[in-house]
Amino acid sequence: MSLNKEISHNTDKIILPSYSNKILYSPAKILINIWFIIFSVFCILPILYVVAISFSKELDIVTLGYRLIPSNISLKAYEYILRKPTLIINSYTISIIVTVSGTFLSLFLTSMLAYAISRKDYRYRKITSFYIFFTMLFNGGLVPWYILVAKYLHMKDSILALILPYTIAAWFVLLMKGFMGGIPDSIIESAKIDGASEFKAFFKIILPISKPALATVGLFNVLMYWNDWWLGMLFINNEKLVPLQLMLYRIMSNIAFMTSGVASTQVTALNLSDLPNESARMAMCMLAAGPMLFIFPFFQKYFVKGLTLGAVKG
């Protein structure tokens, strides 16, 4: 409330930054800054909390609970996970393969589809658009979809089951279409006058100027594939094909998954350090979440730009 008053009180003095950056720090601006700083802490703190737990000594956790600032720093959890890293490395490999190939395949097919339906002179534009859009309105639900993939497409326990079901998402196609619809007709026309085929025009001209849109949708794709546990949960039994998020989901209820095969440590005297139970889970959590958190800042420029173009005109 007081914040609102403050702003309204000062509004007549403020000139919008979008057309002038001369006015520096008005009280309202400071308040907004403080608000966002608090909120930023709120966004990051839980993540830091998990990091802190993963570096805590197991004994401290059990006696003191999870602490934001560990009283003793310990690398035991990471040592434990990486002691027999076969499964972890394997899961990483699977997740990387799925994410990279899935993203490229999806981007390729999505952009072609989006381009065609963004062309105002494409005869089947309307019907194709509706065909795509309708899948957002109605779907068959989990059961028939599961039976189809598992029984009729025989993709159970295959890496394809982790990629293909997500390849074309209507929302991404429409997002991309929103961008490509903004490409001036003259560009396409000029390519055609040069005698280029549609495919050539698409690859040589359209794709290069669509970089922001490709980066945006690409990032969404990366996010979708990297963070997916659902397809794995449904279709993967083979322990060699378990993606990272599924692995993480499994050790939530049973840490044995992580070390399965690393059997029977001969415990003679009770020794907790043999199983950094709580901290190892959180360490695994960080290993799974980390890559995405590092990737994003590099893509942010494109991301914001792409969203601007896509969402507003979408």
Partner: protein, 527 residues
């Protein structure tokens, strides 16, 4: 269906042929015995080197190489591939068969098998039980193949080694839908880590009921801050603990439909209304509030790894038998244990369905799959390899005993293959190994202890739930919500139990009981 009839015709032909051959070669004993046992006699044992020409098994082998898909409820093992390669060398040589062995972890197995079976994916054999991948449900749904005629032909030794009474009790409507892996009677027990019992000078042998352990739990809670006194997960470890509460569930532990162990009339009832059940969960609730049980127990899967690391000094053991201490020690990371028997030993239909190997009703290689089972049953190296891995890599052979045909082994620490559930691969009464420090005849002693169990009132009866499918589904949904909380003591019993009972009633629990009663009465009459 027509394929199945073909198999039948083929089988009867085989039987006739083998009978004739048997007579000719002079070893067909009683010409008048039924076809099954005759054929069983002809191909008994030495199946590997059988020279008798054109047995059904041999005809089957002429079909060429076969790859079998087998699902078992075993924690994934890093070296499974290596072991299966070795296994395949043997099976390839002997029955021209290779194996695709799939390990699915506890807690996921049930769900995954439902999906696999329902979606019609290919599989040949799977582990079924009353606690996961429900045997009876699957039989009712037509998922498993009737092997009553194939079994004596393609697995004669297995057929002979299991008592006829057990086969009969396993049958449903005269048909056999799986091979029971462990026809043991059930009894409940308690396992305590010896180091803890010694530390607090607690005499486990005096424990007669689970509740007698309370003083020990209290001491652990006070002094060992890093330990959780009592192991608990969302099943509440109730399976078989039910025997101490005086009933036997007929469908599932969490579905209202049970019969009292001391019942003489044959009354099916709702076990959750029993005073003994209420008393039990009240106790659990008390322990929960005192901190003997983990606060999130109601959402936990079985904490195997924690148990291995020694975080749970006291564990309710679903099975008790004389050598349970040595037997279960590996599950505690090799720590010495002391055990107490909590209940008498009972045979129930449930015990027969404690673990079975079932075959796909729409599978194309059932004959070969049954032959594989027989081969494992008869082949020491093969059975041991599946159970404990490769010698020198996963275990060390300490000694060998000719009389019992067993080896004594010491699992190699941190090896990448240690499934520890040998009975899912074959007949649990006929293991070919014992753990370090265990007498060679232990499995036989165990078998004798099991065999001495009493038959409970409903032994041989199994409930066909098809007609109350909807009610069952609704009760499942109710139990999903309330049962884990109640059996782990996580909620106020006085408040929640009445709600649970009320909701089960609304979900049609009584109709399930009434239907079971009807079937039970009919079954009793027919006996």
């Amino acid at each position: 269906m027509s394929k199945f009839r073909k198999v039948k015709v083929l089988c009867s032909l085989m039987i006739v042929v083998s009978m004739l051959l048997g007579l000719l070669s002079g070893c067909g004993s009683n010409g008048s015995t039924n076809a099954n046992s005759t054929s069983a006699n002809t191909s008994v044992a030495q199946s590997s080197e059988a020279v008798t020409p054109a047995t059904p098994a041999e005809t089957e082998l002429k079909k060429g190489p076969v790859k079998l898909i087998w699902y078992v409820d075993v924690s994934p093992q890093v070296d499974k591939g290596l072991v299966v390669d070795e296994v395949n060398k043997i099976t390839q040589a002997k029955i021209n068969t290779t194996l695709e062995l799939n390990f699915i972890d506890w807690g996921e197995y049930d769900q995954k098998m439902k999906m696999i079976i329902a979606s019609g994916e290919p599989w040949d054999m799977c582990m079924a039980a009353n606690w996961a991948n429900n045997y009876i449900d699957n039989v009712n749904k037509g998922a498993f193949l009737d092997v009553s005629e194939l079994l004596p032909i393609y697995a004669p030794t297995v057929y002979k080694d299991v008592p006829v009474s057990i086969w009969d009790a396993s049958k449903r409507a005269g048909k056999l839908f799986g091979i029971t892996n462990g026809y043991s009677s059930n009894s409940n027990g308690l396992l305590v880590m010896k180091s803890i019992a010694d530390k607090y000078n607690f005499d486990v042998s005096k424990v007669k009921s689970l509740y007698d352990i309370e003083p020990l739990l209290e001491k652990i809670k006070q002094n060992d801050k890093t330990l959780t006194p009592l192991a608990m997960d969302k099943t509440g470890y109730v399976s078989n603990l039910e025997l101490t509460l005086g009933y036997e569930p007929l469908v599932n532990s969490d579905i209202p439909c049970a019969i009292a162990l001391d019942d003489t009339v044959g009354t099916i009832m709702n076990q959750f209304e029993l005073p003994s059940f209420k008393a039990h969960i009240l106790k659990m609730s008390e322990w929960y509030n005192k901190g003997y049980i983990k606060k999130d127990a109601a959402t936990l899967e079985r904490p195997a790894e924690e148990q291995k690391a020694g975080l749970y000094p006291v564990v309710v053991a679903p099975m008790y038998f004389p050598t349970v201490e040595a037997d279960q020690s590996p599950l505690f990371g090799g720590a010495p244990l002391v055990a107490a028997q909590l209940s008498d030993s009972y045979f129930s239909t449930g015990t027969l369905t404690g673990g079975l190997t079932a075959f796909n009703a729409s599978g194309t290689n059932t004959e070969r799959a049954i032959m594989l089972y027989e081969l494992i049953h008869n082949t020491k190296d093969l059975y041991n390899m599946l159970s404990i891995g490769i010698e020198g890599k996963h275990y060390t052979k300490l000694a060998e005993d000719a009389t019992t045909n067993r080896i004594e082994i010491d699992p190699i620490a941190n090896s990448a293959y240690n499934p520890n559930i040998f009975w899912e691969f074959g007949d649990g009464q006929h293991a070919y190994f014992v753990n370090k420090g265990t007498a060679f005849d232990t499995p036989d002693k165990k078998a004798a202890f099991y065999a001495a169990g009493k038959n409970d009132v409903a032994f041989g009866f199994s409930f066909d739930s098809t007609s109350v499918k909807t009610q069952l589904a609704k009760c499942h949904a109710v139990s999903d919500e309330y049962y884990p909380a109640l059996v782990t003591g996580s909620v106020d019993v006085e408040k929640t139990l009445p709600i649970y009972l009320e909701k089960l009633k609304n979900a049609g629990g009584d109709e399930i009981i009434a239907e079971a009663q009807k079937q039970f009465d009919a079954w009793k009459k027919s006996k």
